[in-house]
């Protein structure tokens, strides 16, 4: 009698069987919609959902949650794994000076992030940084980086708007080498990935600088086009890391998934404000919760 009762209790505790296409269909639909509303690219959503669904179907249903809820948990964990993979630190195991190249669309936050990164490297890793204003097009871009550099007491390479960005790059690295500066951060002009002339320019900048890191700076509010943009920048430059800026806003940040999907590059830092210390190491947990919603 008692044995039977106990057996049936255990059977119920073990749950309701396995996850199936049917019992997670509603959750799949809701997650798809949520990701799209979070600005994850349409094709990336399709691919992610298909991959994770394949992994989830057949899993034992856990007790006390519905199959749908369990699928969401599996999805959440998969995204954390995806965004967490790769080397999230900066690669400095190169012959000095280590060059970090900042690249991205207009207004994404490159100049501000260059200064933020310089401050972090100076304070946390005692590195001797040279900031290089290689944007000679935007009015007062050089002044902007100069002002930021002064505010954090970091060296900045002297530049004029009449200089050529490729020459600025080469000369600044030589300058760093001669003056014992071990890190060179190159701020470049914002550019569209379809602008041939400017994409050729940044390819040349990459060529003459042999960067240890090529950081793609992207606005957290970027929408669907993140894949098209990131893919081309990656083709031309081989992105080694991503900085996601303006994370202090309320954008869901789905662009992070889109960009990672097409570049394989890890998000290394996030910008969390206008101040120069508003800069953090990237941790996937918070953004994944934000994206799934």
């Amino acid at each position: 009698q008692l044995t039977e009762k106990l057996e049936s209790t255990f059977r119920n505790l073990r749950g309701r069987g396995k996850l199936s296409e049917d019992n997670i269909a509603e959750a799949v639909r809701e997650i798809k919609l949520s990701l799209l509303e979070a600005d994850v690219n349409f094709r990336v959503v399709k691919e992610l959902v298909a991959r994770i669904k394949e992994r989830a179907v057949g899993a034992e249903v856990m007790k006390s949650i519905t199959p749908g809820q369990q699928f969401v948990k599996i999805f959440h964990d998969e995204l954390i794994k995806t965004l967490g993979e790769g080397d999230h630190s900066l690669n400095f195991s190169v012959k000095p000076p280590a060059v970090i190249l900042m690249a991205g669309l207009q207004g994404s936050g490159k100049t501000t992030s260059a200064a933020k990164l310089a401050l972090l490297l100076k304070n946390d890793m005692k590195r001797r940084v040279l900031l290089v204003p290689a944007d000679v097009y935007r009015p007062a871009a050089i002044e902007q980086l100069n002002t930021l550099a002064r505010s954090i007491d970091v060296d900045v390479y002297p530049t004029n708007p009449s200089d050529d960005p490729v020459d600025i790059t080469a000369n600044s690295i030589e300058y760093a080498r001669k003056n014992g500066l071990d890190t060179v951060i190159i701020d470049t002009a914002g550019r569209m990935q379809v602008d041939e002339a400017l994409m050729n320019e940044i390819s040349k900048i990459r060529e003459v600088s042999s960067p240890a890191e090529v950081l793609f700076v992207a606005d957290a509010m970027t929408g669907q086009d993140a894949v098209t943009v990131a893919k081309e920048f990656h083709n031309r430059l081989t992105i080694t890391g991503v900085i996601l800026t303006k994370m202090d806003g309320d954008a869901r940040g789905g662009a992070a998934l889109s960009i990672h999907n097409v570049t394989g590059a890890p998000v290394k830092f996030i910008g969390v404000g206008e101040k120069i210390d508003a800069f953090e190491l990237f941790h996937p947990d918070r953004i994944v919760s934000r994206i799934i919603g």
């Binding site: 919609l33 799209l36 509303e37 979070a38 600005d39 690219n41 349409f42 094709r43 669309l105 207009q106 207004g107 994404s108 936050g109 097009y137 935007r138 009015p139 007062a140 871009a141 002044e143 902007q144 100069n146 002002t147 930021l148 505010s151 569209m192 990935q193 379809v194 606005d219 509010m221 970027t222 929408g223 669907q224 086009d225 098209t228 943009v229 303006k246 202090d248 806003g249 309320d250 954008a251 869901r252 789905g254 662009a255 206008e274």
Partner: protein, 277 residues
């Protein structure tokens, strides 16, 4: 479900991809697909369906198409607002040049971003290019004070137009939105009825957060128009449809590059065509 019509699952999937990747957003996508479903018996091809959707979108966008003319107001005052990096300062340079050259207006620019590094210098360079005077104050001055001074000066100088630049701000930063509310209030104090135009500058690369921007900025200070920048890239700016449907705020101008002449009136037809290219 759709087997009797040309609107089958494959077509729906194809349409969803076009619409979503243009940043049109789930609410508007659903609205369009509901319309397609209603009319499904009338379509003979996938192209018919696309034509139908284009027509629906065009109707919405035509209802918010409204060119931007230099406002009368002696002086007419325009307040430029938006999130960080959207293109406010650059657009002011373009607009100042347009008003001066095409409409022969005397334009003053107010350097209302007193916070960001080299913001004033950037506007000053644009002032030089547009050949318009820039009114500025010390770094860290209350932006409302800059706006007040610029409008007062414009009245004294009989300038036709004042364009007020503001610092970029994210719409969820309450204190910054309050600051903007104050700037608007002070402009009205300096010149009753001003600002005559309050323009939200939106980056075409933004996703659905652009709708949040429009909602919050509109709620805080009341918008008279949207300017969509960076349409020279590959982003389609489909968020404009969501903003139009939700708020009905007129779309006045588009930015199509970084040069002073890269400003165009918003054209609903061209914009709709581009969404489907």
């Amino acid at each position: 479900l759709f087997s009797a019509s040309v609107v089958d699952d494959a077509l729906i999937e194809e349409l969803e991809e076009i619409l979503y990747t243009a940043d049109i957003g789930s609410t508007a996508v659903q609205w369009l697909l509901d319309g397609v479903h209603k009319e499904r018996k009338s379509f003979e091809s996938g192209d018919d369906v696309k034509t139908f959707m284009k027509k629906e979108i065009l109707a919405v966008l035509q209802s918010v198409e409204k060119p931007l003319l230099p406002p009368d107001g002696s002086p007419g005052v325009l307040l430029m607002v938006g999130v960080n990096g959207a293109g406010k300062t650059t657009t002011i340079g373009k607009l100042a040049s347009l008003f001066r050259k095409k409409y022969d207006k005397k334009v003053l620019l107010a350097a209302g971003d007193t916070f960001r590094a080299a913001a004033v210098e950037q506007l000053e360079e644009w002032g030089r290019r547009a050949e318009c005077e820039v009114i500025k104050e010390q770094e860290g001055t209350d932006p409302a004070a800059v706006a007040f001074n610029a409008v007062s000066k414009a009245k004294a100088q009989n300038a036709d137009i004042v364009i007020v630049d503001t610092a970029g701000r994210l719409q969820n930063r309450v204190n910054l939105m309050e600051e903007l509310k104050k700037v608007r209030r002070v402009i009205d104090k300096a010149h009753q009825g001003a600002p005559h135009e309050v323009l939200l500058v939106v980056d075409a690369n933004n996703g659905q957060n652009a709708v949040r921007q429009a909602v919050e900025f509109h709620q805080m200070i009341g918008l008279t128009g949207i300017i969509v920048t960076k349409l020279d890239g590959t982003a389609k700016g489909g968020v404009v449809i969501g903003i139009a449907r939700e708020l009905g705020i007129p779309v006045r101008l588009i930015g199509i590059g970084e040069k002073i002449e890269d400003l165009r009136p918003f054209n609903a037809f061209d914009f709709t065509e581009a969404l489907f290219n």
